[in-house]
Amino acid sequence: MSELLVEGLDAAYGASQVLFGVSLSVERGETLALMGRNGAGKSTTFKAIAGILPPRAGRVMVRGVDVAGQKPYRIARAGIAFVPEDRQVFPEHTVEENLEIGERAGLGGREWNRARAFEIFPMLAPLRNRMAGRLSGGEQQMLTIARSLMGNPSVLLLDEPSEGLAPLIVREIGHLILRLRQLGTTIILAEQNSRFCLGVATSVAVIDRGAIAWRGSVEEFRADPAVQATYLQV
């Protein structure tokens, strides 16, 4: 069974439809790069899956359970963790408090907790009592990812984690995603930065004008310059 199976997802902002039957799936441990031009529908796909923009049609199956159209908190509890691109830390809470808010009571066999977060994200440990609003952009990005993991999600949706960060920090985020991949975390990564993306992903889906236009492994993608030319180059 797929960790996440999306079928025929339609979504719209008011009268303007953005997604036209998006279908994709990820298996346990997979890191899928969702690539596409600006405005192709990457963020909207995430928002529709996470319930922030309720889809007009389609199914969102988390480990076999359809959560499409449910409230965001229910979808989060079902196992979808959405990390928005603008890094929404709680600025007036400390790093540790941000993580605490992400923790949820009553989860059996907790894989993630604060101690483990500080172990996997060692750069956050010395900052645990600092206000999140005073962290650098890269530190805030680390914190939002760590905070989303506190709910022990089945699938992590990372929206443009490299956006607006210095190259050195982007490399660190890349190392972190590789580490999470080693730990067996299932990830979908929406990115425009294809070098960053291909360095950490195991498979690729290309979205174009609101629909999935191509799907394959990273090796197949690299071997197919036509796909890159058609869908990604401006």
């Binding site: 965001p72 908190y73 709680f90 600025p91 007036e92 808010i101 905070r147 989303s148 709910g151």
Partner: protein, 300 residues
Amino acid sequence: MELTELAECVTSLSCLVTQSAAGLTIGMLLFLVASGLTLIFGVLGLVNFAHGSFYMMGAYFALAAYGVTESFAVAVLAGIVGAALLGLVFERFLLSRIYGQDVLMQLLVCYGIILILDDAVKIIWGADFRSMGVPDSLRHPPFIIAGGVVPYFYAILFAITAVIAAVLAFGMGRTRFGRIVRAAAINPGMVGALGINTTLVYASVFAIGAGLAGAAGALSAPIRSVVAGAGVSILIESFIVTVIGGMGSIGGALAASLILGFTRSFGSIGFPLFVEGAMFIIMALVLILRPSGLGGRRGS
């Protein structure tokens, strides 16, 4: 004005003690109401014009419970729980539908709630002024501190309100629930995306706010008259508190409530006919000198 009497009072330790004790008690009762108002505004973005009605209902629930049990503790609990549950009902069925709407809509719905509760009170308990009176079990000789008289019941009220304020401060500052509430005040969408049911958080915050107003109403029932419409004057003072203290700031509300409490107790000696006016002057001064209030952030 009797400003010479005020000057005499502030130079006499006994008078200072007496008036300060009264100021603290009045201020803390006001704080209970105003902290609920500011909490609801800070988290829900709702200007709860009906907040005074929960104060009034707390007083009536306390009166009813005291009539049956003759226990002040039960009366206060009834005031808190009754107002909180009533708040929950109104939040779920009416107010949750107008979150994020403009203030005029909020004003209309809240005014409707005020009218409903005032008339409900008249139907159930009648339109007459009522009073609980200080319970017999709490009638003791006053404390004499440095020659100043501190009524025993005022001391009890101060102790109870201080405990409630401490529990509120601890709950908001030191518990996970409080951290979630503060996070939801800033970014409810992200709180929801982390798996937290914000509808439940909002309902709880409203119930807590209404319960705080109910607590103040119940605690005041023995020393103030209980009557339909009793919530209006405390509502106006609570709004002055939130303006002076800063909308959404609990610490600012505490400071502002105590300032108003002292203005009332010392003003009753120095300028008894101008106490309300003095409160508005303080508010105007704060608006001019620090528009975001004592505890508010600049620009908010």
